[in-house]
Symmetry: C2
Subunit: 243 residues, 2 copies
Amino acid sequence: MKVLDSPFARKLSAFVTLSEDDLRALSDLYGRRRKYPAGRDMSHEGQKNPVAYILAEGWVCSYKILPSGTRQIVDFQIPGDFLGLRSVLFRTSDHSVEPITRVEASEIIASDLLEAFAKRPRLAAAVLWAASRDEAMVVEHLVGLGRRDAPQRMGHFLLELGARLRLIGRGTKAGFDCPLSQYHLADALGLSSVHVNRVLRQLREDGLCTFRRGQVEFDDYDKLVEMAEFDRSYLDHDGPLLK
Amino acid sequence: MKVLDSPFARKLSAFVTLSEDDLRALSDLYGRRRKYPAGRDMSHEGQKNPVAYILAEGWVCSYKILPSGTRQIVDFQIPGDFLGLRSVLFRTSDHSVEPITRVEASEIIASDLLEAFAKRPRLAAAVLWAASRDEAMVVEHLVGLGRRDAPQRMGHFLLELGARLRLIGRGTKAGFDCPLSQYHLADALGLSSVHVNRVLRQLREDGLCTFRRGQVEFDDYDKLVEMAEFDRSYLDHDGPLLK
DNA sequence: AACCACGGCTAACATGGATCAGTCGGACGC
DNA sequence: GCGTCCGACTGATCCATGTTAGCCGTGGTT
C-alpha cells in the first residue's frame, strides 16, 4: 500500500493500469531520499553530471535567467513529478531548479531506470506517458505566452495546476493549497508582479476565483474554464499504443 | 554517399560519430517517400493514428489554433527534422502541421525505429539527442515569448534558424534562403504582422540584418548576437552519456 | 487587358501591461 | 518592543505593441 499511495504511483496509475509487480519495480527504483530547504537552488544551468529525481514532497520550479536579470519559469513540479529526466541523458543541465517549499526527493539512477524499462514494458509506457504530458504542458504554456492575455493566462495556469493536483489527491474542483508567491506567478506567466496582483483582484471581483494566503478557491469553475478557454485534453491524452 | 548526404544524416553526424553500419541502418529506416503541396495541412490537432516522418525537402510548421481564431506556431521543421515523433507514441496528435513550401517526407514506421534502436545504440543516442535538442528549442522559444521584446525575439529567431540551417549545409554566417512570410513570423513570435514589419525595418536600418524577398542576410552577425542575447549553447549541448 | 488575391508596407490611433514609487501588515531577529 | 525584511497591494505615468484602415506591386486567372 505504501507505494501505491505515493504521488508518483497515483499519477501513473491514473492512466496506465499497473500490476503488483509493476508497482514493486517502481518502489525498487527509488534511491536515497533527500531533503532540500526552500529557497536555495538544487541545481543550476550549465551544471555537469546532474542527477534525476522524483519529487516526493514539496514544490519546485525550473527556470532560466536572462542576461538582463529577469527570469522565466518554464514549469513547476509537484509531488509525483520527474525532475531532470532529460538532463540525466545529456551531460549539461539547461536550466536551474529552485525549491519553492521544503522538498523531499528520491534520487533516480539512470541505469536502474533503463533496466526497469527493459523488464517491465508497462512501467516504461507509463513513464513515457508522463514525460510526454510534461512536454505537452510546456507547449501549452508557450501558446499561452504567445497568444493569451493576462487574465486568460492566469486562469489557464490555475486550472491546469488544479487538474494536476487533483490527480495526486491534493486538490478538488473547489480549490487547492498553493505555496506560490505573486512573484512566482509573474515569472511563470511572463508578467510583472504588479500586474499579477491586478489580474488576481480582477478574477476575484468577477467571481471567478480567489487566491489568498496560500489558497486557491475556484468560485465559479465553469465560468473560469470558459473565460480561460481551458481545454484539458492536452493533459489526459490517450495512453501509448503499446498495450 | 547518398545516405551521408541526406540532411538527416548530416545533422546527426554533426554530434555523434556514426559508423558505416549505423548509416546503413539509417537508410533502411526510410519508408515510402511522399510529396505534399504547400499550404494544405498535413495533419491536424486531434487526428487519430498519426504517422511520423523525416523531412527530406521543404519547410513545415507545427501550430495550434486558439478558439479566438489566432494561431501560435510552436516550431518550424526544416530538412532533416523529425515530424510527429511524439504523436506516433501516443494516439492523438496535439497540434496541426502546415507545409510552408512543397514538401518531401519519408514515412517512419514506429516498429522499424524501435528495432533499429535495439540493434544500433549509437543511432538511438543520436536520435535521442536530436529529440532533446528540439525540446530545448521549444523551451528557449517559451523564454523568448515570456521575457524578450520584439526585436530580441526576431533576432534570436533568425539566428537560431541560421544555425540550424548551417548544420545541414543550407546557410552560412552571411545568411540563408527563407520561405517564411511575415505572417509566419508573427504567429511564431507572438506578434502582429504589422509589428513584424516594423521590427524588420528597424533591424535593417540598424544594420543588423535584412530580410527581403525570401532572403535573410546577416549584416552584422556579432552585433545581432549581442542585441538578441543569443547564446547558442542550447543548440549544441554535449552528446548523450552512453558512449 | 482587366481583375483579383496576397504579401509587403505604412500611418494614426488605441490599449494592455510595464515601470516607478510608494504604503501596509505580518514574521522574524535581537 | 523595535527595527527590518518580504510579500501583498495600489495609483500615476509611459511605452511597446495591437488594431484599423488603408496603399502598392506582383503574379495568376479569365
